[in-house]
């Protein structure tokens, strides 16, 4: 029975590693400037965690194989070096791993959250609500109209609660259900929640950030490949959570200008 356990554990460990080594369901290709650092970090961690996982499972299998079912006459042995060396090993190996990954990881994290805002970045506002994202471009005047929660009227498609009657800034605001961005230009995404907590997740962009009601946050990124990608909500926000999504269109500058013009005309 012990041998069976050993074999099972070994098989499970190796089979578990196969899809990861073969990259069956890996992350999609990264389309952001900062994503490479995150991918690298993930890759490093995968190696280290993977080796630790396989080593531990295989050692478990080996020891159970060797020592299960030994009787009273078999000599008891103690692990060479005893607990002391194991503790030292844990501190050394895990400690260095922590330090190494922690330090590399800080850089990857900083590339998302501490990257300075570039001068020519494009500011876009996104509002999450139950259960859709809407995006707002400031229009020709470069200014966003003020948001009035009491004026929000979804039936009238006034998702941002604008007051064009009194607020001149809001009249040329362009509102869209998809996020179109020009390629290779930094986007400063200002995030506002209409109701409850939501989250903005684009796998390819390696960006995930919560919307916090009452707290407007910003996140910035630069997309490097044109194409259409999915934005999904990853913070449980209610019954339509599963259906809360939008598309990210990364366009060339000309296409983007055209898109903006078309939207403004509507």
């Amino acid at each position: 029975m012990g041998k069976l356990f050993a074999v099972t554990v070994a098989i499970i460990a190796i089979l578990s590693a196969v899809p990861i080594v073969m990259n069956y369901w890996g992350p999609p290709v990264d389309i952001s400037t900062h994503g490479a650092a995150i991918d690298e970090q993930m890759h490093q961690t995968m190696w280290e965690a993977g080796i630790a996982f396989l080593a531990a499972q295989l050692v478990l299998a080996l020891f159970v194989w060797q020592f299960a079912g030994r009787g009273k006459n078999d000599k008891l042995k103690s692990f060479p070096g005893g607990a002391k060396y194991l503790v030292i090993a844990a501190f050394l190996f895990v400690g260095t791993e922590i330090l190494a990954l922690g330090i590399i990881g800080q850089k990857a994290w900083a590339s998302v959250y501490f990257a300075p805002l570039e001068k020519d970045s494009l500011t876009i506002q996104t509002q999450a609500g139950q259960f859709a994202f809407y995006f707002r471009y400031p229009g020709a005047d470069g200014k966003f109209g003020t948001l009035h929660p009491d004026k929000i009227n979804e039936g009238n498609q006034n998702f941002f609660g604008l007051d064009p009657e009194h607020d001149v800034d809001s009249r040329d605001d362009i509102i869209a259900g998809e996020l179109a961005v020009p390629v290779n230009r930094q986007i400063n995404l200002m995030m506002h929640s209409k109701d409850v907590g939501h989250s903005f997740y684009v796998r390819e962009l390696r960006i995930q950030q919560d919307f916090v009601p009452g707290l407007d946050l910003g996140v910035h990124f630069t997309a490097t490949k044109t194409g259409q990608y999915e934005i999904v909500c990853t913070q449980l926000c209610g019954l339509g959570h599963y259906n809360m999504k939008a598309y990210l269109s990364v366009l060339s500058q000309e296409d983007f200008d055209k898109w903006l013009k078309d939207k403004a005309a509507q």
Partner: protein, 233 residues
Amino acid sequence: MRTKNILLTLLTLLVCSSLMFAGTISGKVTYTGTPAKQKPIDMGKEPSCAKQHATPVTNETVVTGPSNSLENVVVYVSSGASDDGQVPSQAVTYEQKGCQYLPHILPMHVNQELKIVNADQTSHNIHPLAKVNREWNKSQPPGTPPISEKYDKPEFISVKCNVHPWMHGYFAVLNTNHYDVSKGGGDFKLPNLPPGKYTITAWHEDYGTQTADITITGTETKEQNFTFKAKAY
């Protein structure tokens, strides 16, 4: 027993006679000024619906027709012909199709059965934001039976789908069977009105209400037009 029979006969006679001398109110709803531009709806997040519409549909808050006519105005008898108790036996149906409500405004009698059907391949949620009546909030996955409900008090109830924020409609729960919703061209018609004094009300979800007093004397058709002032924003 006998008296009851007699009474019933009398009542039938009365109803028949009133039908014989039925008047009709008809008219047209128009607007003045410039209504706000209706924006196209981006159904991108629900591809199964988006592909049902060759051109994007717009929101239906203000639907206008030729020569300044205004659609989706509920015109009904608000006093003079209370039909308490005469609840039509057939149900009214509210359909969700292509992530739109068909019709946008559904009039019904108090306590009339309301059937809500999901004709889409996606889950809808029906959340009528009732204030006077009991509020409820239900989801309807594709393939589930129609939801059957009733409202026991007159109210204009805004209906929304929590899953698809652009989906908005209205239930007009009325205490009368004499109602109409203005269609293309803004026309409406309230037939079969027995002689009497009536107040008729025209209700628009954005532009508010207007009323008019009309007296029907016999078999006649009276014209009553309503003109709403459009809002630019």
